[in-house]
């Protein structure tokens, strides 16, 4: 068993039976579920809406190069600059270059899972550049020295008491502040930083090819400030976030809001089309958009996995996933957790190290059911499993097991052999250890139904 898989197995055991963790996660995800159910009422026909959205993303991804190049042309015309990054290192180098050119010492950043993917904070800190998270959830996680727990809700696993205690320890404020008071503490710290920062970094929710712009969705106004207060704005995202047209936002803004946070639309939805123009008073002097591949082209190259690039990172599949609900975000050991994370991680990283995540699913299909762009997530997990078998990443003993299974199931007589007691004994020998201590194994009956029925006159 690979190291990552062993770590995952052990961590999952700790989390599943950590009742405090279970309580906090259930509380948060129940709220998310209630909000989603209310929010989706805004669609008179959600299923059709999803189909239309999937078609738009299909068109966008099938013609990815065309739309990305159109975006570049249009964004350049608007005065911005596109940086193509093939991998993590190229993205980091590009950001460091901009920092050095402008002698930047301080950066404010809004929520961006791609910056987690490339470990931007650690990289800049190593280069003595201060980078501050401005999304409240991300700020909490940064204070605690933890990665985000969830794509959309970074500190989902922390109760308000946990956050109060953290602020008390790290910021020297009284230990019993209310959520409103805690927000004010963070706000006061962050406001000063916006004014001082030379560079603002944001993520991107949608790249808009036709107008050469980017759309950012948020609820706190921190992305808006990060993008417009400092004199330089760097926005970074994966190449899959493309939409053909600004008009597609009619559909995608409410879809993202409802599936991400249960809202009809989020509080702030901004479109940025480049740096400040001559006759404009607000906005950054320079604007860069970094388009990151980082092996997304591996997903693009595989027709069976390609639709995972339709993902709009709403996090809905995490919220409904019984596995995520039990083990939480960190257990996955990946930037992207939950069903979508299990699907894409073997492609974005070494497949051998991450294939086990595709097997850590009961294939219940709740993810597929909720996905706003109809990504067939549980079928993509099945596809990954098949890849793992074909790439010989599964243990030899399991391979032999399935060969025996095939033999037995091709011959009815073998299924009736060798009697219930022996089967119960053999299955116990093989599986008792893996079945664990919390369940008992079933017992085979003395005779199969087939044997009961065979001699009956009504059988064919």
């Amino acid at each position: 068993m690979k190291r990552k898989q062993t770590e995952f197995l052990l961590a999952s055991g700790r989390k599943v039976f950590d009742l405090d963790h279970r309580k906090k996660l259930n509380f948060a995800l129940k709220q998310a579920d209630a909000a989603y159910k209310k929010g989706k009422q805004q669609f008179s026909d959600l299923e059709t809406t999803k189909k239309i959205a999937k078609n738009i993303k299909w068109q966008a991804i099938e013609n990815l190069h065309t739309y990305l190049e159109a975006f570049e042309t249009n964004f350049n015309r608007n005065g911005g600059r596109v940086i193509w990054a093939e991998d993590t290192q190229q993205a980091l180098d590009a950001i460091l270059n901009v920092c050095r050119k402008n002698e930047a010492k301080s950066i404010v950043k809004s929520k961006s899972i791609v910056t987690e993917e490339i470990h931007l904070n650690q990289f800049l800190t190593k280069h003595h550049i201060e980078i501050l998270e401005t999304d409240l959830g991300e700020y909490i996680q940064q204070l605690d020295g933890e990665a985000p727990y969830h794509i959309v809700a970074p500190s989902l696993h922390k109760s308000k008491e946990d956050v109060a205690q953290l602020f008390h320890e790290k910021l020297n404020v009284p230990p019993d502040l209310s959520p409103e008071e805690l927000t004010l503490v963070a706000r006061n710290i962050l406001r000063k930083k916006y004014a001082a920062a030379e560079i603002g970094i944001t993520g991107i929710n949608f790249i808009l090819a036709d107008i050469g712009g980017i759309a950012i969705t948020e609820n706190e106004g921190n992305a808006w400030l990060s993008a417009s207060a400092p004199k330089i704005h760097i926005a970074i995202t994966g190449i899959e976030k493309i939409l053909p047209s600004v008009h597609d936002l009619n559909l995608f803004w409410p879809l993202l809001a409802t599936h991400g946070s249960g809202q009809r639309t989020t509080v702030y939805n901004s479109i940025y089309t480049g740096p400040k123009k001559q006759d404009e008073t607000d906005g950054p002097e320079e604007m860069y958009v970094i388009l990151l591949d980082n092996r997304r082209s591996h997903l693009l190259a595989d027709p069976a996995a390609r639709e995972s690039l339709y993902c709009i990172r709403c996090g809905a599949c995490l919220n409904v996933c019984p596995v995520y609900k039990n083990i939480g975000g960190h257990t996955y050991g990946t930037t992207y957790s939950g069903p979508i994370g299990a699907v894409i991680s073997p492609y974005l990283n070494d497949a051998a190290e991450y294939q086990h995540l595709s097997f850590a699913s009961s294939l219940c299909g709740a993810c597929t059911e909720v996905c706003p762009v109809h990504i067939n997530l549980h079928n993509l997990l099945l596809n990954n499993r098949r890849n793992a078998v074909e790439q010989n990443l599964i243990s030899a003993s399991e391979q032999i097991g399935w060969k025996i299974w095939k033999k037995i199931n091709q011959h009815r007589l073998l299924m009736n052999w060798p009697g219930g007691a022996t089967k119960t004994f053999l299955v116990g020998k093989l599986f008792r250890q893996h079945w664990g201590i919390r369940r008992i194994l079933p017992e085979f009956t003395h005779k199969t139904f087939n044997q009961f029925t065979k001699n009956k006159p009504d059988s064919k």
Partner: protein
């Protein structure tokens, strides 16, 4: 109406009584039930584990065993969903649209309600129960109303819904042995939700879920029983 019975492997090997009850129910519903004794498995276990090459000959055998033109009825949504939704991928060269097997295959409760238009089997089963939506039945086959319609008409049975009726029991085939912690944790919460409602039975269309929940229940000596819907519908007459 003539129907062919497919017996899921769990039922064949561990719960043969449920297959007998399925025949009993179908016959009462006016069907002439045939059982091809050569049948084995639909192939799903290997497919779900990623072993498509091992799955394929077993699935092909299934197609051969059920090539008669009658409806195929199975007491389990998991196998039905697999045949319906995944055989196309398994046999991309075979023109599955020419093969009617997928369209002829039904889970027992959807067959009773949607094809035979029967929602009262005249059964009685005294007690309180919750219905667990098996993932295969619910999401692969879209079965939500049929079992509830049938159960509502069972005399003496009080059906109490839980908030998490659509949440997976945690079985998931090889998942249950590869990730026993997560799998057991899911079973634990499923059973706890039923316990909170104070029900005596958890009823479902699929024995795979029930086998899993029963393993947790028996280990922890919890006063809840599991019951397959075919066994419930065959009770009291």
């Amino acid at each position: 109406m003539k129907v062919q019975l497919f017996v899921p492997c769990f039922i064949d090997q561990i719960y043969p009584q449920t297959a007998l009850n399925t025949i009993k129910v179908l016959e009462k519903a006016g069907c002439e039930v045939s059982y091809n004794p050569n049948q084995t498995c639909c192939g799903q276990p290997a497919y779900n584990a990623g072993y498509w090459d091992e799955c394929r000959p077993v699935a092909r055998k299934f197609l051969d065993d059920f090539n008669a033109p009658e409806y195929i009825v199975a007491p389990g949504g998991s196998c039905v969903g697999f045949v319906r939704n995944h055989y196309d991928k398994l046999f991309p060269d075979k023109n599955m649209s020419q093969n009617t097997t997928q369209k002829r295959m039904y889970e027992l409760t959807e067959f009773l309600t949607e094809i035979l238009h029967i929602d009262n089997m005249g059964a009685s089963f005294p007690g309180t129960a919750t219905y667990h939506d098996a993932c295969g039945a619910l999401r692969e086959c879209g079965i939500k109303a049929p079992p509830r319609a049938l159960l509502t008409n069972v005399q003496g049975l009080e059906l109490i819904e839980t908030d998490d009726c659509e949440v997976c029991c945690g079985f998931g085939g090889t998942f249950a042995v590869k990730y026993e912690f997560i799998s057991s944790g899911m079973a634990e919460q499923k059973v706890q939700h039923a316990q909170k409602k104070g029900v005596e039975y958890i009823i479902s269309t699929d024995h795979s879920c029930l086998l899993h929940l029963d393993g947790y229940i028996k280990k922890h000596l919890i006063p809840i029983k599991t019951a397959h819907i075919a066994d419930v519908l065959a009770s009291g007459w």
